[in-house]
Symmetry: C2
Subunit: 371 residues, 2 copies
Amino acid sequence: MRAVVVRPPAPGATVEEVPAPLLGPDDVHVAVVECGVCGTDLDIVAGKYGRAPAGVPYLILGHENLGRVVEVPPSAPGLAAGDLVVATVRRGCGACPYCRAGRSDFCATGRYTERGIAGAPGYFAQEYGERPEFLVRVPAPLAPIAVLLEPFSVVEKAIAQGEAVRGRVARPSPDGTGVAASALVAGTGAVGMLATLALRSRGYAVTAIDRHDESTVAARVLRTVGARHTNVAEGLAALGADRFDLVLEAAGAPSLAIDLIERLAPNGTLVLTGIPDARTPPLSVPAGALLRGLVLGNRAVVGSVNASHADFEAGLRDLATFESRWPGAVGALLTARRPLAEAPAILAGRDAGSIKTVLTVGTGAGPAPAR
Amino acid sequence: MRAVVVRPPAPGATVEEVPAPLLGPDDVHVAVVECGVCGTDLDIVAGKYGRAPAGVPYLILGHENLGRVVEVPPSAPGLAAGDLVVATVRRGCGACPYCRAGRSDFCATGRYTERGIAGAPGYFAQEYGERPEFLVRVPAPLAPIAVLLEPFSVVEKAIAQGEAVRGRVARPSPDGTGVAASALVAGTGAVGMLATLALRSRGYAVTAIDRHDESTVAARVLRTVGARHTNVAEGLAALGADRFDLVLEAAGAPSLAIDLIERLAPNGTLVLTGIPDARTPPLSVPAGALLRGLVLGNRAVVGSVNASHADFEAGLRDLATFESRWPGAVGALLTARRPLAEAPAILAGRDAGSIKTVLTVGTGAGPAPAR
């Protein structure tokens, strides 16, 4: 079958003919429909990380996936041929209590694999096999946008983590209804935009920041969902004196992440989802004032990575809500669909104008065309 | 009456004759028994902060207090003359939803006052008046150690905050019993030592760090309560490769606080309680690696300040538990009791050998002598 292949740590990606997956007796056989390209893929192609499976000289790239079931083993009665499915990414270490409890997103050993990233083949390929417990069935009406479910699961977990940390603060009103909350989302890529929609649907007043003017697709979608857009190309001073109850960082830029701490309102929580390069040169940080602000304001910073099966399921429910409330808004985030053959060029560099580029893999049985 | 007086921002403290407190009709009249000296007091005396009440040219210092009720208004049926009481410190802004709900420790406006610190008279004085809702009645058997209740309330809140943040992580075992947790406490002053006792009593394996050898009172008490002591005078490398589920910072040193982030186990939480000087020169921080570790390990950092009435009540329960489990361990933290007249000298500098110095104010009706 054809697949996008990398050979970490060597940079570059190629489309090659590779052996079809070997299916075990309990594996569901899935034909890939389409896959999203994300910053992690670009980092792997740039040689920053990535790891081939043991004993295999290459890694099939790709983790944001949508596929259609070809064949189902008797051990997977909940699935049928023709079902649309999204596969989760991480496979637990099997040793720590989190992985044994099915929460490999909290793996305590770090000895997990991640399909398309580290130690397990990804989904930029014509087909794959997977055990049914790692597949999430997608309702047919969500087919045109379900390729966003995997990145959205990361958002669902991040927001849940942030709200859980916020929940430690005493409920501010005696009747338990709380007060109106404000959120700042840093970054208007797919993660930042999906986070904005999710926070808007939960009632937050949302400000989303990026380095662009009002002419982008992101700015248009922000208007559609009632979020404020602020161009911070000249710095966070563009936010004036505003502080926020929940700040979600989806850019992976260390200096921005640290500056965001100062944008927390009292009792506010900053959720970090971007994964910065560990080799970033040290920064000069006003640590005294920063830590003093954390303490005196009961502020929190929490990192969140990956997602659980429940986060994928929550994502499906929220995607349906978005489609109902803001028809077409999610689909607008899929700014380009390109054939698999173009993958090497697409993976060679970030396209500043795009939100999410999707590689089309399957033919015939794929989802309806994007609007 | 005699009181320890400061005139912020001028440095220095004096013992002076000042007018007795004016009691309102709903105020409980309290004779001070004794008061603890804390780092905040020293910072105020050093001119770093502190604020006199509006219209008053001086601030009566002191917030760690123990007193005996002299007279009770009809509006305070739960108290009686002769009762031992500890007064809370912060008085809310009255405007934000947290203060209106009785949780001024989460005040969202910052326009609170704090007795002995900012805008309200403290307890280094012979008497004070206070409304009954800000007084916590102390059972007689706890009299010898109850002067530690106020700093302990800060510890109770900090641990509750840390455990609430830890609680957002999926329970690691299917039966919900969790796994054994490890804690690191940075600092063996009163806050660090009380935190160690509280964490030990909750079943944590605790390591406490300071810059001293095994000859100190703190090291002896750590042995008594089954905590490990590590001297990190040569740096955190003395901890080897150890990582911890809960780290409690009680030193207020920014560079140490940042280094502690790297001591978090996966899914670990760092609770900051020390209040660093905002004028600390900027530090060079390996922000990329640090933030990457927070994200990939689902790690969290949370600041905690002040305490609620419920935290004081929890502190009373825990102090009774400590007395039962480790008789004399808490009393040993009261390393010196000195007359009020010595306050200016005591407040002029930190005594490296002491854990908690107490100023004895009342005569006759005071608690039993320390062991």
